[in-house]
Every structure is written in C-alpha cells, then in structure tokens.
Symmetry: C2
Subunit: 256 residues, 2 copies
C-alpha cells in the first residue's frame, strides 16, 4: 500500500540533540512522517560547506520518541546530501525543514548560516525547503509561541509548494508574542570588528572570530531586520539563483 502521508526531512546546524530541532519535530510530527538527519555536534557558521575531504558517518539516535533520528559527522549540507542519497532513496521528502536555530539568521547571516545551508541545499535539489530561526540565542528560551506560525507555514508549503529555486528564511523575534508576519527582503548589514587577538601562554598570538553586527539600513521598512525589530515574524524568500541580473547589461558592454 502506498504511503500517502508526506515525508518531512529535518536538519539543523545546532546538532541533533538541540532543543530547537526537538521542538520543530514536535510541532510538525502530526502533519507528516518525519525523518531527522542532523549534525552530531554544533555546526554554526557552516554556510553551504560540504565535506570534500573528510569521510562521514551516520548513527541512529533515539532521543525523540518514535521519530527516526540520525546524526551525521559532517556539515548541515552533508546531512541533506547523505539523507537524500542513503536514507531517502526509496521515498523522496515532500519538504525539507531546518532549525529551529538558536540565533538570528536574517540579513547577511543568510550567507553564513548552516541553518540556511540546509534550506538552500534542499532548494538546489528542487525540494520545497524552509529554515526557521529564533533570535533567542539562549537554548533554553521558550519556543512554544512559534508553534502556530511554524504549523501554518509548513501546512501552506506542504499544500502549495514553493516556486523553483526559492526557499524560505523564517526568523522569529526574541519575544513571547508576535505582531504577525511580514514578507521581507534581506537587509544589507555588516559584521565589523570581527577578530580578537589573544596571547597564548606559550607565547604566540591567536585569534577568535567574533564581531558586532551593524545594520546598514536601520529603520528601513520592508527589510527583515526592520520586521524583527518591530515584533514581526520575518519571512525572507531566498533564491538560489545568485545572478546579478541588473549588472549584466553594463558588463556586456565592457566585455562582449
């Protein structure tokens, strides 16, 4: 008998044991069959990196009741690749979800985020994909208020899909109540003062990558940072075609 329920593949960049991914599974497990394949440990800032050199291992885990959970030693993108190739060869996921990330993935974090790496990888495989992130960096923050929003967005995307080459970057303000949803564009912002030099006890310099975020478009309505700053859930539709179409004519005049 054919299985009529949709299959949702879930990954993240905080690791298979993170509270955020457990919460995401809890929110959607009545809507579909769920398979989790997530990094063995935290992989923040891994972007769309994959393991070109290192081998991967997959291990079944049993930390979410009857949900099938695998940990993978690689990056968030590796988790999608290996899940599709090794775990979903017989049954392609209807939807790929990522998160719930513990931390903000709006603005230029879209590029650095391993959470978004998962959604972009799904999108590059033409599978509708949504990343969820909360601006609470505290892993113990109460994510329960996200439930109706996550369920609504997942329900909509299960039913209607997404345009080819488009995935969703959904960010929630660090709040316990939201004013509604805004569909946004990515904010131009910058990370500055990004490294801190330290002196090792053995007498050499080393560096930590840290940084301060600067909004380069403060107060500009329509940006994802504006939505978050004003208490809205921000949906930033994100495309995998990164061609700068507006720059093409000028360049053609120079080079063709």
């Amino acid at each position: 008998m054919e299985n009529k329920r949709p299959l949702i593949l879930i990954s993240n960049d905080d690791g298979y044991h993170a509270p955020g991914i457990r919460k995401l599974v809890e929110f959607v497990k009545d809507m579909a069959d769920v398979l989790v394949c997530a990094p063995e440990a935290a992989r923040s800032g891994y972007s769309c990196a994959f393991s070109a050199v290192d081998y991967l291992r997959l291990k079944p885990r049993h930390n979410m009741g009857d949900t099938m959970v695998y940990s993978c030693t690689g990056t968030p993108v590796d988790c999608v690749k290996i899940a599709l190739d090794q775990l979903c060869a017989e049954r392609r996921p209807t939807l790929i979800l990522s998160g719930i990330n513990h931390g903000d993935n709006s603005s230029v974090n879209n590029h650095y985020s391993g959470t978004m790496g998962v959604a972009k990888e799904g999108c590059m495989k033409y599978i509708p994909s949504v990343a969820f992130s909360s601006c609470y960096y505290d892993e113990n923050a109460n994510l329960e208020p996200l439930r109706p929003y996550v369920q609504r967005i997942v329900g909509d995307v299960l039913q209607k899909g997404l345009p080819k080459g488009v995935c969703l970057n959904v960010n929630f303000p660090a709040a316990q109540k939201f004013k509604g949803i805004k569909v946004c564009r990515m904010t131009f912002g910058s990370w500055i003062e990004e490294t801190v030099k330290e002196r090792h006890p053995r007498g050499y310099d080393y560096y930590w990558v840290v940084g301060k975020y600067r909004n380069d478009e403060p107060g500009v309505e329509g940006t994802d940072q504006w939505a978050l700053d004003n208490g809205y859930v921000a949906i930033t539709p994100t495309q995998t075609d990164v061609t700068a179409y507006d720059a093409m004519d000028g360049l053609k005049q120079i080079y063709e």
Copy 2:
C-alpha cells in the same frame, strides 16, 4: 607620503602554496601592492563558512618573492575577515581577488565554493571582489593563457569598481585558447549520486561525499555552463542580496 598605489588582497580555497594563487599574484603584482592571506591547507567546498568555534592562527610565509604572504588556519572567509581586521586596519584594500581556483565554480558550485566565499565576503564588506577559477582540476595545468583576461578584468574593476552588492564569478574553460568573454547567468544544475558507502576494516559503514554534476539546462545559451562548454570565459555577476523578489507578492497575499 600617501601611498597612491591600490592594494589588492588575495585569497583562495586551495591554500597559500597552490599554483593558482601564485599565478594570480604574478599576473597582478605590477598593477598594485599585493597582500596574500590564504588558508594554510586546502579548503575546498567551504562556501561562506567561518570559524565560529575554533581559534585562528596567522603565519607569515615567504613563498612568493617580495609579496607579503600570510597563511591562516581557518576557512577562506576567515582569511578575508582576519586580513581586513588585523592586517589591513590602516589601509583598506581597493580590491579583493580569489583564486585562481583549480576547478569549475560555475552553476550551483557558486554556493559551495570557498573561492566564491572569498569574493562574497569582500562584497559583503562593500569592497569590489572577483573570483577566478579554471575548469582544469589538475594543479599543474598551464594557466598562462588566462593572463590577459585576468589583467583586463582586474584593470577594469580597479578603475570602475563594481555595483554595491555585486561580485564577479569568472570561470575559464579547460583550454589553452579562449573564444572571448560571455557575461552569463548562473546555470541550474544538480549534484546527484553524492555519497558512496564504504566498509571500514573495523566493521562499520562510512561515506565519502562525491557526486556527479548534471546540467539541468543543457545547451541553453546565456548560462555560464553553456559559455564554458563553448570555449568562452564566463563572467557570472553574483549578488549578495539573495532575496527572491519575484516570490514576494504571492507570499504577501498568503501571510500579510
């Protein structure tokens, strides 16, 4: 006395010792002062990943004559961040270059590429940035035919800059002669059959990430793969604003 020469920061993802980066330095060192800050070892497939957890170290190297060369223990993007913060605090680069990568970065490789990570990072810091890649995967391939193209593009960008939020992804066919330059859009393509399962002598399974590239728009003129397949140098202007503007109206009708 103020230094009137431009400063070019160069990085890559193959490591500071790779033939491609040495060649790039050789091509441009008469056009500007050059500072190299590149990964200590190969970092293929690192995308825009940065080191959120691991510390970095910087070491001066002396493998390119009188060019200042530093190796960094981190990712390609880390190299840009630490160079701007620690090495270029007094003198901001006029231009950031990446490459010459040993391997094709057209199509969806744009997302996975550490070479493109360098250019995107520069672009997110509002510095004109260009990534160069050759479709020769062989490190010993003769890159000399790229010289006039690289010098022309670098000269143009030094003079005219690039639009805000736009960097260039320049790919060269695996050939010793080129038919000219085409300004292209990113090809939709897919990596398939991406993992290979192996059995470890100790009795467990492990996996390598490999894959075959499938062009999903074969023969479509105007795509970067088409240009490369037909002997042209492909310039794919790439933007850091990944908002899917065309999808916004439809989503606003659902969610706002």
